[in-house]
Subunit: 152 residues, 2 copies
């Protein structure tokens, strides 16, 4: 079982089902929420407090893609795969919005490891990364298929 602080440079053979990785924290603020939304998801409930209050979110909410991007940053810094964290695909769900002022943290767990049949130097690691707010409530669950390489 690996817990943070994680050792440097993990290869496929260093990983086991059940390994966990806990990230640092990231504080989300209004400026970040608006800046991301302006560029990538310019909808009123991500930009304007009054419009947000009358929306499904009942208050200003970060774009789910912003939460996903912050999650990636926290994951990259907390799961030190030797050749990087390279995703082939992912499933993401948002259970509640992340909001300005929230402090986010990611806890990742190795769910499965599947050696590649065609490429013996690598495998696919199924990683579940749950992003929590400062109250311990999950805001996002991300299940990623990550490519991991064996030691050369």
């Amino acid at each position: 079982m690996t817990t943070s602080p994680a050792p440097r440079k993990l290869y496929l053979e260093d990983l086991a089902v059940g390994d966990t990785f806990t990230s640092a924290t990231h504080r989300l603020d209004l400026e970040q929420v608006r800046r991301f939304a302006s560029e990538f998801d310019p909808q009123p409930f991500h930009l304007d407090e009054t419009a947000a209050r009358n929306s499904l979110f009942q208050g200003l909410a970060a774009s789910g893609w912003h939460t996903a991007a912050i999650t990636m940053r926290l994951l990259v810094d907390s799961m030190p795969l030797a050749d990087g964290v390279i995703g082939a695909g992912a499933e993401v769900s948002w259970s509640r919005p992340a909001r300005p002022g929230d402090t986010l943290q990611v806890k990742s767990t190795v769910l499965a490891i599947t050696p590649s049949r065609s490429k013996p130097d690598r495998g696919i690691v199924l990683v579940e990364s749950v992003t929590f707010n400062q109250d311990g409530e999950p805001v996002q669950t991300l299940t990623s298929k990550v490519v991991s390489f064996r030691r050369k």
Copy 2:
């Protein structure tokens, strides 16, 4: 069948399985790729040309989350749901990297429409959004569960 330019303000009852929406285009450049990666996915193959050449990507590649964020921007602007494009969750896969210099475009198709049983004012619309590069090659497939409301 709805094609672009799409009419303004679509409600649940305006959507049908098979409806398609074609977005505008977005040109990705080196500055954007590096800026997003520096903040959210600071791995060498998203930041440094030489390191990228020796990686799985064989050249500088945008973060998959950057491709997802650009896709959201193009989707928001091309699928004018009356109460906004609000995702409950999504599946995303990256078939090839998006690269600096690529021009991206998103084609979205309504795959299924499921009225909510508990909340009669809304339904879940399953939308497949394929992001293509300028050569017509798919770089990402995103299947989103989008909340859509009925006319009040």
